[in-house]
């Protein structure tokens, strides 16, 4: 038994790279996992590989998909403790100078990396706050990048979207301080993932972090932001933050 057992977690971009590593690790640790990805076949394959997980086909960059995704996450898990906004779009498929970047590529990066996480977080925020009130804690973890801070040439679309997401996370975290919902932003480092291969096709993969290692860091960051749980994994008899304060 550990702090992850029984935790209700939703992960976007759950069929490749860091997202897939998170789905596998969280399932192995007994979390109740729902994951989202665009390709139905890959979703079904990962769901079959991780029995008990809930695969949801949807595109977080599309407004019309937000609520169908939220209905399935909240319906299938009966609520939500943790949302991991992991799905990311690089922008132009091969990195290029901003002056050479199509507006549509920037818009798509913003839709996937900023507006999508904003919409989905907003749709499940009620469920997360309920979890916090019940003493289970609640965390939104937005996957960030060092490109959110450092202005690397040719990474403009991706960087701008991740910088905005990082700031959004910090502000939301401050605003939700009283509600017991944490909004974290975490840079998993340069990983050996399909997105990295798209960005830097000739990278020496042996120098890149394995997504499985990054997944452990993400899970540790989430566990550290949740209230300590009883040994039996059930904090229902513990005091909520509100009770402890009163």
């Amino acid at each position: 038994m550990n702090s992850i057992t029984g935790l209700r977690v939703a992960i976007t971009g759950g069929t490749s790279g860091l997202g897939l590593a998170l789905v596998r690790e969280l399932c192995a640790r007994g979390a109740r996992v729902a994951f989202v990805a665009r390709g139905r076949e890959r979703v079904e394959r990962v769901a079959a590989e991780c029995p008990g997980s809930h695969g949801i086909t949807g595109d977080v960059s599309l407004k019309v998909d937000t609520y169908p995704i939220a209905v399935q996450i909240l319906g299938e898990l009966g609520g939500l403790d943790v949302l991991i906004n992991n799905a990311s779009d690089l922008g132009p498929a091969s990195l290029r100078l901003l002056g050479d970047t199509d507006c549509e590529d920037l818009e798509r990066a913003l839709a996937t990396n900023l507006v999508g996480p904003f919409r989905l977080t907003k749709a499940v925020l009620g469920a997360l706050s309920a979890s916090a009130r019940e003493g289970r804690g609640a965390v939104v973890l937005n996957v960030s990048s060092d490109a959110a801070i450092t202005p690397y040439p040719t990474w403009g679309a991706y960087s701008a979207s991740k910088a905005a997401l990082k700031h959004l996370s910090a502000i939301w975290d401050a605003e939700l301080d009283g509600q017991g919902v944490r909004v974290l932003s975490l840079d998993p480092g340069d990983m050996d993932t399909p997105l990295h291969a798209l960005a830097v096709p000739d990278a020496d993969r042996s120098t890149l972090k394995r997504p499985e290692a990054a997944a452990l860091e993400v899970i540790n960051a989430i566990a550290a932001a949740l209230p300590a749980r009883e040994r039996d994994g059930d904090n229902s008899e513990g005091l909520t933050e509100q009770e402890a304060a009163s």
Binding site: G55, Y67, E134, Q179, S246
Partner: protein, 361 residues
């Protein structure tokens, strides 16, 4: 009174009719509702999100077009989604008033229905030709995906624009188990929740599968509300016990909260945590055990919601309230104006208070 026809959860000009424990009636702006609360109050809301419970499709034995409105469920368990009770309409959609909708073809146990990607079997006729029990094919995940992709929020002819889920989910919406929005909760936004916290006002939630409000059929409407499953978190039950012990006021946001809390009442002013199914009807003869104040929408006198208000105030006061609302044209229905009713003084009481008036601005 007139129906509100725009899907705006918190219109700036929304009104709130305030009826205090002495039966005094006055008008307020709903945006100021927070000023009616006072330090120590416990506010309880229903955090059910609204299921896209309107499913169009066809009755396979005849090929006739139908609309199925999911209306009831035996539990809130996430994987218990095979069986629903449902009201069935014939061809058409919400643009036609429910009472003018054509009847569905005669429904028989065993009939198969195609509802977008979903398939279901009528397993039982529930005492009315249009009220049936449905068994959906597939796994729980497939059924949830079908609802999510194909379902629409239930809506009525007074609302001319097509509702999206974001129109009907409250900001606190959690599990998608309500068949229609617990719309009293539209009063809440994150700013209000933050203000409550700063003001020492406690906030808690229950999850209650708010049922459908109208079927267009007098005989069916007389059976509303149908049985509604609910879940009371342990933290909420503890908050209620503490508030009761401290003689603090318990303010319910919506009729569903009243129905759940009073159903779960233990008789000692506290409530039982956990899952239940509210089967009772709250009327003027109901002795309220838990809730002191209700914030609710403006309802038609024939509705069960209106009947429930009689548990809070006597008929004469309710008539005064109706007259006051009529005089300035309060808007009805889910996106309309609101009422605040304190339980009338001396109506019952584990705890008697001298006056509730001091918290009013």
């Amino acid at each position: 009174m007139i129906a509100a026809t725009a899907p705006v959860q918190r219109p700036a000009d929304a009104r709130l009719l305030v009826v205090d424990a002495q039966g005094h009636v006055r008008h307020a702006w709903r945006r100021d509702f927070i000023t009616l609360l006072r330090r120590g109050d416990l506010v309880v809301a229903n955090d059910a999100a609204t299921l896209p419970a309107s499913l169009t499709g066809s009755h396979l034995p005849t090929g006739d077009a139908i609309e199925v409105r999911l209306a009831g469920r035996r539990s809130l368990s996430a994987d218990d989604v095979e069986l629903f009770s449902a009201v069935v309409f014939g061809a058409g959609d919400y643009h036609t008033p429910t009472e003018k909708r054509p009847a569905p073809p005669p429904l028989l146990a065993g009939d198969r229905l195609a509802l977008g990607p979903l398939r279901a079997t009528v397993t039982e006729i529930l005492g009315h030709p249009r009220l049936v029990r449905l068994h959906f094919d597939g796994s729980a995940d497939e059924i949830w995906a079908g609802f999510a992709r194909h379902g629409r929020p239930i809506q009525y002819a007074h609302m001319t624009t097509s509702l999206a889920l974001w129109d009907v989910w409250t900001v606190i919406a959690g599990p998608p188990v309500a068949f229609e929005p617990p719309s009293a909760g539209f009063v809440l936004d994150w700013q209000a929740l933050a203000a409550m916290r700063v003001g020492g006002i406690e906030f808690a939630t229950i999850t209650h599968a708010a049922g459908i409000s109208s079927t267009g059929d007098a005989e069916l409407d007389a059976r509303l509300p149908l049985d509604e499953p609910y879940e009371i978190p342990a933290a909420t039950a503890r908050a209620i016990a503490r508030a009761r012990a401290g003689s603090r006021r318990i303010v319910a946001i919506g009729t569903t909260v009243v129905r759940a809390l009073e159903h779960a009442a233990t008789g000692r002013g506290s409530v039982q945590a956990g899952a239940g199914v509210a089967t009772q009807r709250i009327t003027e003869s109901t002795r309220l055990q838990v809730v002191d104040t209700i914030i609710s929408g403006v309802h038609e006198p024939a509705s069960s919601h209106y009947q429930l208000l009689r548990a809070f105030v006597d008929r004469a006061t309710l008539a005064d309230a109706d007259a006051a609302m009529d005089a300035v044209g309060y808007r009805t229905h889910e996106f309309g104006d609101s009422v605040w009713f304190d339980r009338r003084a001396g109506q019952r009481g584990m705890i008697e208070r001298s006056s509730d008036i001091d918290g009013f601005s």
